[in-house]
Symmetry: C2
Subunit: 258 residues, 2 copies
């Protein structure tokens, strides 16, 4: 390659999260890095975009810093849109999002701000990867992730990615010596059994905290949940054509009057 690849880095935990600092550090070994990330945590934002309020964008890196960094008041998807349109002077060769503090495996991909940034880049035709570590704590240890994050990003830069596909990478919370390597998987069929924790305000008004328990219904050995449970890093190719093509024929048997 005649010039170093341009890599856009974002996340949903906010620009000061330890996870994105690790991701920046690894990406700086692979190319020129520009960071555009939320100015505050955006977990659980799904693929939200900001259309009813304004966006602020602030340069937070200083003159002479190796990597340009911007914080944005919007969602992860907003960050990718504004990076491409207002920050970068050319199309990035890769967009990476994360490393998220907590799992985005299985059905969590639907709720994930981390993955929404990757999907947004994918919609723009940019190879994109979301990385997540299965540890929700702010002081999660990202050391063991580095080697694998680098390898997956290197492969994406080398091979590119098919149109309409981005990668969802989840990393088990294990020491480096206990990680069994990388496994290509499908999304497990699982969901959350919600429980609402009902409380009363000091004024006596009811309110709720959303909590829940993750339930995996899927006994397949080719799923991300299975790979993670066995100590592998899971890589699921994710698409944003949501059409259930297999169901079109069935729907054509429904009866509609004109």
């Amino acid at each position: 390659m005649s010039k170093r690849p341009l890599i856009l880095v974002t996340n949903d935990d906010g620009i000061t999260a330890p996870g994105i600092l690790t991701l920046i550090e690894v990406m700086e070994t692979l190319g020129d890095v520009v960071v555009v990330a939320p100015d505050s945590p955006q977990s659980g934002m799904g693929h939200a975009i900001t259309i009813n309020s304004v966006l602020h964008l602030d340069k937070v890196s200083k003159k002479g810093d190796k990597t340009q960094q911007y914080s944005c008041s919007g969602t992860p998807a907003d960050c990718v849109k504004i990076a491409i349109n207002e920050v970068l002077d050319r199309r990035p060769d890769l967009c990476v999002s994360g490393i998220n503090h907590g799992s985005n495996s299985s059905i969590n991909v639907i709720y994930s701000g981390t993955m929404s940034a990757a999907v947004e880049a994918g919609i723009e035709g940019i190879p994109a990867i979301g990385f997540s570590l299965l540890d929700y704590s702010w002081d999660a240890n990202f050391k063991a992730s580095k080697k694998y994050v680098r390898q997956i990003a290197e492969n994406a830069l080398k091979h590119g990615m098919a149109e309409g596909v981005v990668l969802n990478v989840n990393i088990p919370n294990l020491k480096e010596k206990d990680i069994k390597g990388i496994k290509i998987c499908r999304q497990a069929r699982a969901n959350w059994k919600e429980k609402f924790d009902k409380r009363k305000t000091p004024q006596g008004r009811d309110y709720f905290w959303l909590t829940g328990e993750f339930v995996n219904y899927d006994k397949g050995t080719d799923t991300d949940e299975h790979a993670l449970a066995e100590g592998h890093i899971s890589v699921v190719p994710v698409q944003f054509d949501l059409t259930a093509h297999h169901y079109i024929q069935q729907l054509n048997t429904w009866h509609f009057e004109q």
Copy 2:
């Protein structure tokens, strides 16, 4: 059917939007209706859920009202979760979301709060449909939609829906006599070409409004965009297994060191 079906109604424009009032009116002809909808507009919220703040739930219907109605301070996905767990005394037979003021065809499904509610119900195993009218205005005319909304919901109640599939229904902004009927479609390949409208605050700080132009790259005649342009109502089966199964084989050719 020995008892009337239970139908959960929600939306993303908020509980006072004309679109949901039309949807409630139609559903009341088909079953017992319970409404749990956001207390304020949630457009563009994607599949956001509320995990970092609390949720409020208020009964807004009065004693003797035909239909129980609740407003919730959360997102459309929150509304479905809290309805199932805290409001309804049995599983609904159908969940309908909308009628959205504005299109959720093609790639818009990704950003859609309306569809996130339907997907959330689908994850819970409940047949679910999102309805949208191609008119963004608050005083959009939903009259022509009624007949078709009713037919699609009737079919869903009669046939049920496959596991992992919900419906994305878009209705052209036409008079009833000009609507050509219902067409089963796939999601068109299209996206938004963003443009950020850059302005200055009175204090001189830059800020941005996200705007853009919708571009359809897809010349297929089996897409939702094509059906709508021809005057049909589009019905796309939508899945939330996002795995790009066709790409797993390709990814297995990537090289990773252990």
